[in-house]
């Protein structure tokens, strides 16, 4: 495959174009820069480049390590969803070693990951995203909208207690708003739940290939359940509240659905294994993939094109085009066929060789450390996004219609129903997430709140199943394994903000090649060799500007809402390597006045 970029000449800049950049984007993790050209007369973003200025290099220093360390090492990729990496690595190792955890071990792992979704989505939604929609922000960017919010009654006021939309916005104000503070309290509860299952947050201490070290007792699940029921009660308030808030923006700003809208190109790699079906054998991966409690799949233009994990795996391509790396076309091929005999492409993660090539940033050439992961459907290299995670998970699960968690959640073919049981002060409630008309900023944010409820409902099911095992006396949580001299493995999971895959090759009992592909390399990917922009770029490019400020005091709120709707997490975007251990001098440079 050639790596030379094929690009058209850039259009002649229009006189009214203004260049604006946000670097770094705040209220996210890591160093993401968004560089735009804005047309203030047309109120549109004309061009967008997303760039990351950190290189890490996990794929390089994983080589030669003991494979049994891989989940402890890859967990450190991220300080917020490290457990997702540990889990995905454990899945990968389970396949490579041919080991299956006892059912109780799998339910404990599922409960830990459910707690992680509940935690991470909660803190991002209430303490980071909500700030973009709070009273202070709306007053500064769209005072007319705030005026309207003051006069608009919240349709679900009887459920959440806020009479007007402006009251909701005030409750979202950072550090002072009631919802902001309640969100922090709920995040604490969810972290406690996580620690009960996986020992420590965010780098688990009781997670291993073959199972978990957590002692499964009635008490540990009861401790989890007590905290879960408080969260369930919180969800009964927050889902309708977010519906009111997000629907109001469609109402107040006609055309707002265009903000952050892109073609529906969504990928989900599935989450929550079913121990009754999953045997971690590559050859049966389609069967146990479809049995996952969040269905894996790919949605293109609203149609579900596959739910096969094998198809998903075979279609993975890591392209270059605008990234600071050299191509590995002439490097070693580690895996030429999968265990079913299917050919494996040179640009598949199993065969990737990372060759960093630091250079000056050039938006007409190379401009980021993020590569360009794509999914090849046999014709096109699709720049899939994750919709921040929940949008793709719910969309795929809804269309596939496979999930039915004993009444707690049910996929209907066009929606996902979530039933939350009676809690301390609220009756049973059923929510229904319906497939939206658009893949845009508002729907990415709306899906997050529904998926928080989904994760809570799924956890209720997992507790039932774990207690069944305990009552039957099946207390074993871990099975023995040996590390083969030669093996390959792959793991598919959902990190909080979307697709996560790990690919490993073992030679002589050590790691010969290891490539984690988290969600942000997909979402923050850059223009590939075919000139196809990555999802952030695509979603921001062409987006309409609704902010009332002019160029002099422009905050770029619509752009920032769009980028944040993907829940960016740049430490995952590129994977730190300092070569021979060069000492770096740290210089602090305050960036006052950054939005």
């Amino acid at each position: 495959m050639a790596i030379k970029a094929r690009r058209e000449e850039p259009p002649t800049p229009s006189p009214q174009l203004v260049e604006m950049a946000w670097d770094p984007i705040t209220r996210i993790v890591g160093s993401l820069g968004i560089y735009t050209k804005l047309d203030f007369q047309q109120r549109k973003v004309v061009e967008c480049h997303s760039t990351s200025s950190i290189f890490r290099g996990y794929s390089i220093f994983m080589q030669g390590k003991d494979p049994r360390d891989s989940h402890f090492i890859t967990s450190r990729i991220c300080g917020i969803c490290g457990d997702n990496h540990a889990t995905c690595s454990v899945y990968t190792q389970n396949m490579a070693y041919g080991v299956r955890p006892p059912a109780l071990g799998e339910w404990i792992l599922n409960l830990g990951e459910a707690a992680e979704y509940m935690f991470d989505h909660n803190i991002f939604q209430e303490n980071l995203v909500a700030v973009d929609y709070c009273e202070q922000m709306v007053r500064e960017t769209n005072p007319g909208v705030l005026e309207m919010a003051e006069k608009t009654e919240a349709p679900n006021a009887d459920v959440h207690g806020y009479r007007t939309i402006a009251d909701i916005m005030r409750a979202c104000n950072p550090f002072a708003g009631a919802l902001y503070l309640e969100g922090l309290q709920m995040s604490r509860l969810t972290r406690e739940k996580f620690c009960l299952m996986e020992g420590r947050h965010v780098h688990p201490s009781t997670l291993y290939p073959g199972g978990v070290g957590t002692a499964g007792t009635i008490q540990v699940f009861t401790d989890y359940l007590v905290r879960l029921m408080k969260y369930v009660e919180w969800m009964k308030k927050m889902v309708p509240l977010h519906d009111d808030l997000f629907n109001f923006f469609y109402q107040a700003l006609p055309g707002y659905e265009k903000v952050g809208q892109r073609r529906v190109l969504l990928g989900c790699w599935g989450s929550f294994q079913d121990p009754n079906v999953c045997d971690y054998d590559y050859r049966t991966m389609d069967d146990w993939g479809r049995a996952m409690f969040v269905t894996p799949g790919i949605v293109v233009d609203g149609k579900l094109v596959t739910t096969s994990l094998i198809d998903i795996n075979l279609g993975l391509r890591i392209l270059l085009g605008s990234s600071y790396y050299e191509d590995w076309e002439n490097e070693r091929t580690f895996v030429d066929r999968d265990p079913l005999g299917n050919p494996i492409d040179k640009h598949h993660p199993w065969n990737q060789t990372t060759i960093p090539k630091p250079q000056k940033r050039d938006f007409q050439g190379n401009y980021s450390w993020v590569m360009s992961p794509r999914w090849y459907d046999g014709r096109d290299y699709l720049a899939l996004d994750t919709g921040g995670g929940p949008l793709a998970r719910l969309w795929v699960t809804a269309l596939a219609g496979l999930v039915d968690l004993g009444g707690y959640t049910k996929a209907t073919g066009q929606s996902v129903k979530i039933r939350l049981p009676k809690t301390a002060t609220k009756p049973e409630v059923e929510f229904e997430w319906k497939i939206p008309q658009w893949s845009n900023t508002i729907e990415r944010n709306r899906a997050r709140t529904y998926f928080q409820a989904y994760a809570a409902a799924a956890a209720l099911h997992f507790i039932d199943k774990a207690l069944e095992e305990i009552r039957a006396g099946h207390t074993k949580t871990w099975n023995e394994f040996t590390v083969p001299k030669e093996a390959i493995g792959c793991g598919f999971h959902e990190a909080v903000r979307g697709v996560l895959s790990h690919h490993m090759v073992i030679e002589n009992g050590k790691i010969a090649n290891y490539h984690p592909y988290p969600p942000t390399p997909w979402n923050a990917s850059v223009r590939d060799i075919y000139g196809t922009p990555g999802p952030y770029e695509d979603a921001v490019q062409g987006t309409s500007i609704f902010e009332e400020n002019g160029p002099d005091n422009f905050k770029g709120i619509d752009i920032l809402r769009t980028v944040r709707s993907f829940d960016p997490c740049l430490p995952c975007g590129v994977h730190m390597y300092l070569g021979e251990g060069k000492e770096l001098k740290v210089v602090h440079s305050p960036t006052f006045g950054r939005p």
Partner: protein, 76 residues
Amino acid sequence: MADKTKIRSSRRPEPVHQPGTRKGEEMLDAAGKEARRYHTEKTGAGRQSGKSTPRDVSGIVTKGPIDPRSPYLPPS
């Protein structure tokens, strides 16, 4: 501040694995399986199940469960 900063040598020893820590499977081979735990049938997708006795849970010698209707309830 900068003039007080000591720049350490960039030449550091390479990290070395400390020998002497046994692998889990070596310990299992040497010490044998933990007492009062035993394998039962495989469940689900060929997943090995296992049970443990009240002795394993409590650390004390017991004659049996505290209530026959709850045979696996830990005695303490």
